[in-house]
């Protein structure tokens, strides 16, 4: 018969529950998956944008070879967008993200989501789906100047990703709206005003890229920090 002291047994149970909670946190962390998905989507959309622009210029200049190459790139991007709607893409993202995000080993947990969290996710998704066509439409009609593209997009992109972060319980995803908002604030404050004119259309894509990279780094740092906490807890406790 083993007789633990009252204090030690209380600590053991607290430590054990804490260990399980931390493991659950790591298992439900999906910010790396989200960042990989957003990064791939951004790369496809940016390539499509520049290929379309380049194809138009090449056709106007009467250069068949560059025009042909651009049309080929547009076709590849279109196939990629269609592929992004399939389950094979989801499996691919899962595989890539698992490789990136399985520092310290693989763990899997079922994410529990409260009703209000799902409500937040639905609300921000609807807001995003409504805002994108309005923004694109107003930009195409040249109602919105290109200089305001980044700050205006920040008004719906940042709340959307912040909402998804709340809905999916992924605190590292919060880094995305923070970075994106900071880039938009820098643009409004005029920090990018001195940059050449060709830079303006790229501003939004670069802000997205910076946000994706910072989210990836935040996800990795959070995972490593949680693993460190678990190791410390494991070494410190469980001595009966």
């Amino acid at each position: 018969m083993v007789s633990p002291t009252p204090d030690s047994s209380t600590n053991i149970r607290t430590d054990a529950e804490q260990l399980g909670k931390l493991a659950r946190t790591v298992s439900q962390e999906r910010s790396i998956h989200a960042a990989v998905g957003m990064g791939f989507g951004l790369a496809v959309v940016t390539t499509l944008y520049f290929a379309s622009k380049y194809a138009g210029n090449a056709v106007r200049a009467g250069a068949p070879l560059p025009a042909g190459i651009s049309v080929g790139v547009i076709a590849i991007c279109t196939v990629a967008i269609i592929w992004m709607c399939t389950s094979s893409y989801s499996r691919w993202i899962e595989r890539v993200a698992s490789r990136l995000g399985s520092v310290g080993g693989y763990v899997d947990g079922t994410a529990e989501s409260a009703g209000w969290r799902r409500g937040v996710g639905v609300a921000v998704s609807i807001g995003f789906a409504v805002s994108v066509p309005i923004h694109v439409g107003l930009s195409t009609m040249e109602v919105l100047p290109v200089e305001l593209s980044l700050p205006i997009s920040a008004m719906y992109v940042a709340p959307f990703v912040a909402g998804i972060s709340i809905a999916t319980r992924n605190p590292a995803l919060f880094v995305f709206p923070l970075t994106y908002g900071a880039c938009a604030a820098a643009s409004v404050a005029g920090y990018t005003a001195g940059f050449p004119a060709w830079f303006r259309p790229m501003e939004t894509a670069l802000a997205m890229g910076a946000s994706v990279i910072s989210t990836l780094l935040a996800g990795l740092c959070m995972r490593l920090y949680t693993l460190k906490r678990m190791r410390r807890l494991s070494r410190r406790g469980f001595k009966i």
Partner: protein
């Protein structure tokens, strides 16, 4: 067993020896929070050596508390661990016994 119902004359509850070992308790506590975890994760998160983890996990498997699945991803072996329902119940009973003992000890002070 409720703490208040335990009398000084009552026999003290037995702790499950399989779970009571600190390394096995750590493994069980971690697995209680997740669906599955692989060998590398358990080793990193708990700061255990390969041999130590293998031996204790095998002991838990023999007792039916965890399930060990070995597969290959390409040429790399993958070992995954999952806590079973009897394992979850045993862990719960273990905490209840520990609480009962603590209650008894507090009662004697």
């Amino acid at each position: 067993m409720g703490l208040t119902k335990m009398k000084a004359s009552d026999p003290a509850p037995e702790l499950d020896r399989v779970i009571h070992e600190p390394v096995r308790l750590r493994i069980m506590s971690l697995l209680a929070g997740v669906d599955t975890a692989d060998f590398a994760f358990l080793r990193t998160a708990l700061g255990l050596s390969k041999g130590n983890l293998s031996v204790h996990a095998a002991r838990l498997e023999v007792s039916g508390y965890i399930e060990i699945t070995k597969t290959f991803e390409g040429k790399l072996p993958k070992t995954r661990y999952r806590m079973t329902q009897p394992g979850r119940r045993a862990l719960e009973r273990y905490w209840e016994s520990l609480d009962a003992i603590r209650g008894a000890l507090n009662g004697h002070e």
